[in-house]
């Protein structure tokens, strides 16, 4: 696509889960690219495949039932899919780190937070335990927690503080790519504002690229550079944040914006998308959005739309834009 090398490029990735009730096509045609230092907002509803995509990048898809059926995940030009397990273990945490949604369950309750940060550092860096603990203290201060609290256990922290600890662990080895899976969804709004401000700061200091998984377009507007909209396992629109917010093209993206109550306007009724997300074991033929699409044409039920570039860097998968 571009001659400049991207940090992460995903090409036509498909992940299926084989279950008793049929094959769940969690990801069908996932194409994505993320440049150095960029933040990509990865937006979609529950079941769209956001978390599966993150787990696929980390090579953490449970197998069975999960299986990467086809595609490529190029990280710094190398395909992660062919990597042996021990090489992957070096990459995880060191080069690609992940923050999970729920800070209450992603920390070890029986280990002090300082030790948990040090554990990560010791795994990837050749430091003595004392040096690692010292670095852990420093990391805590970086995320706005006093170093004395390194000896405390997770239950002694509030939700927002725990998520700070998780961020400290993720950034401890200065990864190239940070995958944040709904990092603030479990937090209250005023705490969310604190954590988002922190993440923005750290992203600038560490020049980390970030894949931010969220369902909140407000967070995207606040902190991302690019946006990819995911629907039923495929990226249906991907663009620069400004292009996507000022000129959303895909009917689903447009509808998504309209279904959020506008805090600055008076609205009688919200406009809605009829129906619900399709069953991933039984995706519609053609474009997976066509049964709900207000602009669907006869062709939409037969042809899977390809990636159409409506303007440089703004890619839409919708037949409405084909003729241009």
């Amino acid at each position: 696509m571009s001659d400049r090398q991207q940090l992460l490029e995903i090409e036509d990735l498909a992940v299926h889960y084989v279950t008793e009730d049929g094959t769940v096509r969690a990801l069908e045609h996932l194409d994505l690219s993320l440049g150095y230092g960029e933040t990509l907002g990865f937006v979609g509803e529950t079941g769209a495949g956001k978390t599966t995509a993150a787990l696929a990048i980390m090579q953490l898809i449970p197998h069975p039932p999960g299986e990467i059926v086809r595609g490529k995940i190029l990280f710094e030009g190398q395909d992660l899919l062919g990597k042996p397990n021990d090489e992957m273990r070096d990459i995880r945490g060191k080069k690609i780190a992940m923050i999970f949604q729920d800070p209450m369950t992603s920390l070890n309750p029986s280990m002090t937070v300082g030790k948990q940060i040090a554990e990560m550092i010791r795994l990837h860096e050749n430091l003595t335990p004392a040096q690692a603990l010292e670095k852990a203290d420093h990391m805590l201060e970086t995320v706005g927690i006093q170093a004395e609290r390194a000896k405390d256990y997770p239950h002694q922290f509030s939700g927002g503080m725990k998520q700070r600890v998780v961020i400290a662990i993720a950034l401890a080895c200065n990864p190239k790519l940070l995958i944040a899976d709904e990092p603030t969804t479990a937090l209250d709004v005023t705490i969310q504002a604190q954590v988002l401000a922190l993440m923005k700061d750290l992203k600038d200091t560490y020049k980390t690229s970030m894949l931010l998984i969220t369902h909140d377009l407000g967070i995207v507007a606040d902190i991302c550079d690019k946006v990819a909209i995911l629907y039923a396992g495929s990226v249906i629109e991907c663009a620069d944040k400004r292009a996507l917010f000022t000129n959303p093209c895909h009917p689903y993206t447009v509808a998504l914006f309209h279904s959020i109550p506008d805090i600055d306007a008076e609205q009688e009724q919200l406009s809605i998308i009829k129906g619900i997300m399709p069953d991933p074991t039984d995706l519609p033929t053609g474009c997976s959005f066509h049964p709900r699409c207000p602009n669907a044409m006869a062709e939409c039920s037969q042809t899977i739309p390809g990636r159409i570039e409506v303007e440089p860097g703004h890619v839409v998968s919708c037949l409405l834009f084909k003729t241009k």
Binding site: V220, A221, D222, F257, I263, I273, I276
Partner: protein, 320 residues
């Protein structure tokens, strides 16, 4: 006040815990007019759900009064309360845990009808169930489905149908859309507004999501640590909020738009524990305008001069 449906006076709900008295709801006053939606916003642990539950006596308050249509609900006998509950219903946040997984949609909707002996015959019950399903937008083919077969939006519709079954006047909506995706959330919000119009319902809409609350409500009450800190018309609260906490809360809302000119007010620290709260203003520890006097006297909820109420010693003096 003519047209007032509910008036809450000095309502308190304390929970006894090992660590001390938890002041979940601490001396709050508000009223809800007939046919209006009062939005109740606040962060987790501020007491908004407890308020909703005490209002319809799912929890017994420690003290205070809830006047419903002129009668103090809290003095009702068991029998009177059973009658009153036909008029006051609740829709819970989590449609995954508030429906009995072993009952079908029709059994779930029939339950309130049976309990109150509303229908005389089996046929009448069935007709009523179908009519309710139609009202909340559930397809008739789902009548024998179990909750696990439904998605979150449909489950919440079942919860709403149950609440509507006895033709209530007043419904407590306790975070009815928080567990739903935005597209489904929009469908349910539209449904709730439609029902309010058609049946003249009065809502107490509890949520932590300010955009949703604003969309639904006529007046909004903001709670912090068991106290109501500000009540105002939905417009004035967004345009000129007076309480520092309301301002911070508003500034923390993420808005899906570019180039929004806003000053972010980042509050220090976390919400303090509601167990044995200190005297004085509850917001003292996180407030950027705090003065020593705030720690000594607790601010009363008082008229703010523009039709609303605010509980801050420095209301109106903090600049725009």
């Amino acid at each position: 006040m003519p047209g007032t449906l509910i008036e809450v006076k000095n309502l308190k709900k304390y929970f006894v815990t090992k660590a001390g008295l938890l002041h979940a709801v601490d001396d709050i006053n508000f009223h809800i007019e007939k046919g209006e939606t009062l939005g109740l916003v606040g962060e987790s642990g501020c007491g908004k759900s407890t308020t909703g539950r005490v209002l319809i006596r799912l929890l017994e308050p420690t003290s205070g009064q809830v006047i419903y249509n002129g009668d103090n609900v809290l003095l009702f006998s068991r029998g009177q309360m059973k009658d009153a509950r036909k008029r006051m219903q609740i829709v819970f946040q989590d449609p995954y845990s508030s429906l009995n997984p072993r009952l079908t949609v029709s059994e779930l909707i029939a339950e309130p009808l049976y309990v109150n002996h509303v229908c005389k015959s089996r046929q009448e019950t069935q007709d009523k169930i179908k009519k309710l399903m139609d009202t909340v937008g559930l397809a008739e083919r789902l009548i024998n489905s179990y909750p696990h077969e439904l998605d979150g939006g449909r489950r919440q519709r079942v919860g709403i149908a149950r609440a509507l079954a006895l033709k209530p006047e007043f419904i407590v909506l306790d975070e009815p859309v928080s567990a739903l995706d935005v597209c489904i959330q929009a469908q349910v919000l539209n449904l709730l507004q439609g029902l309010q119009r058609d049946f003249g319902l009065t809502y107490l809409f509890i949520s932590h999501n300010l955009s949703v609350v604003k969309h639904m409500s006529k007046r909004i009450a903001v709670m912090y640590l068991g106290k109501i800190v500000e009540v105002a018309d939905y417009r004035s609260i967004f345009e000129h909020a007076q309480h520092p906490y309301t301002r911070a809360l508003l500034s923390a809302v993420t808005i899906p738009k570019l180039d929004v000119k806003r000053t972010r007010i980042l509050l220090e620290g976390d919400i303090p524990s509601p167990i044995n709260p200190p005297p004085g203003c509850r917001f003292y520890g996180r407030c950027m305008y705090r003065q020593t006097s705030c720690q000594e006297t607790e601010p009363e909820l008082a008229a703010n001069g523009s039709g609303g109420l605010v509980a801050c010693h420095f209301a109106g003096k903090l600049g725009a």
